[in-house]
Structures are given as C-alpha cells and as structure tokens.
C-alpha cells in the first residue's frame, strides 16, 4: 500500500533527523486510510525516551503513544505509523526494529549522516513477523 506524504511533511522528518543527529529521532505519522492509500496529513515529533544509546535506539513510551492516538482521534484521524532515523546507517529495518514492530503500522526510516538525509524509505511488518515489505512513499 503506498504511503502518500507531501514534501512539507517529508522535509519536517528530515529536519527532525538532522536536529537529533547523532541520536535517533522518532515521531508519529498522522492521517487516514483512503481507498488503499495511506495519506499522511501531519507528522508529530515524539521524544526519544530510550534511557541510553539513543544514537542507535529509540523509544516512545506507552502513555505518549496513547496521547498521540487520542490527539489524532480528536482530529478525526488515526496513527498510520511512526518514523525514526538511523544515524550513519541505511534506511532499512534492523532485526531490533523487527522484534519491536507492530503489524498494520507504516515504519518510515530516514538514514541521516550529519547534515544530510541520505535516504528515506517506508516499511510494514508482515503478518507472520518474518520480515518487512517496503511500501512506496509517493508525493
């Protein structure tokens, strides 16, 4: 299923990834499912509250997820998924990502090296948790 995201939202994720470097950034993709296309209407930054190693780990705590979900529902939208950055690492999900992923969400990963976002790709977890499928990001 393609993930439709405007240039402004793409740039905001890139900016967040550059600001957080060398740590990982994270945030929510907010929008709606429409006729087989996921449409991102907004991106909301979240705090990476992983206790340590934030250059290679991120965590959005459950109460923060709950608040993001409630905030999206108030606006008649939903959480389509989440984004995070991989500092100096490809925009591909790691084994650690897979172990912690949920089905049904889009996971956007931005590969960032200092001032440059090298690549950004979106992934969904397979139902049997065996791996990911890439979904195209369209403008």
């Amino acid at each position: 299923m393609p993930l439709k995201m405007g240039a402004g939202d793409v740039e905001r994720i890139h900016e967040h990834a550059r600001e957080a470097y060398p740590e990982e950034c994270a945030g929510a993709l907010v929008g709606m499912d429409s006729g087989g296309v996921r449409i991102v209407v907004d991106v909301w930054q979240a705090e990476n509250t992983h206790e340590d190693e934030r250059s290679r780990r991120f965590l959005i705590e459950p109460l923060a997820v709950k608040r993001l979900e409630e905030r999206a529902e108030e606006k008649d939208m939903g959480l389509l998924g989440f984004y995070h950055s991989h500092p100096d690492h490809p925009a591909e999900p790691s084994e650690y990502d897979r172990e912690h992923a949920w089905p049904g969400y889009s996971y956007v990963i931005a590969s960032v090296s200092g001032e440059n976002v090298e690549d950004m790709r979106s992934w969904t977890l397979r139902d049997d948790r065996s791996g990911y499928d890439e979904e195209p990001i369209v403008g």
């Binding site: 190693e53 290679r56 991120f58 989440f82 500092p87 100096d88 084994e95 650690y96 949920w102 948790r129």
Partner: protein, 97 residues
C-alpha cells in the same frame, strides 16, 4: 465479563472491534482467552515461549499492570484492560556508530 481495549494496529485480528469482552478473573487469564479466541493476535502479544512481549503494555484503568500484580492482577466484570503499544527500534548493534 471484563473488556479489553484493542489498539488500532491489532484490530484487524478482532474483526475490526476496538473492544472485546473476554472471560477471566486475572489480567493474564483475560489476555490468554483473548489470544485463544483470536489466534492471529497471539504472536503479536506473546513471545515464542509464552511471555508477554516487552513492548506490549497492559493497563487496568490508568495503571500499568506491571506495577500492580502483573498477570495476576485481579479483574472484575466492570474492569477495562487496555493494550497500549510502546514504539521502539533502532539500527543494528555493531553496524552503526
């Protein structure tokens, strides 16, 4: 019967229902029955050795059951359990700085 509130990404396994009633007098029993009644849900809630996954958080009302009595937390018919995801990840150990 106690109710379990299902987070959006897992509703595809409960026929789209945001809330499901399940039997059980403890949180663990209620979640176990939920997984039995919706088998496709099980692998997303439990690890291969039957433990609740670390990023699956279960709240009774506003309290995380980990800070109550865990899976032994008692639940009554009027209680609502909420499954809330924590979102975690990151790049692979040795391959990134």
């Amino acid at each position: 019967m106690p109710k379990v509130k299902i987070p959006t990404p897992l509703r595809q396994y409960t026929a789209g229902n945001p809330e499901v009633e399940v039997r059980g007098v403890t949180a663990g029993e209620a979640l176990g029955n939920l997984a039995s009644e919706h088998p496709d849900l099980k692998q997303h809630l439990y690890t291969g050795d039957g433990k609740l996954r670390s990023f699956v958080n279960v709240y009774k009302g506003d309290e995380d059951i980990r800070y109550l009595e865990g899976q032994d937390t008692e639940v009554s018919d009027s209680d609502e359990l909420t499954i809330i995801p924590s979102i975690a990840g990151g790049c692979a150990g040795g391959r990134c700085k």
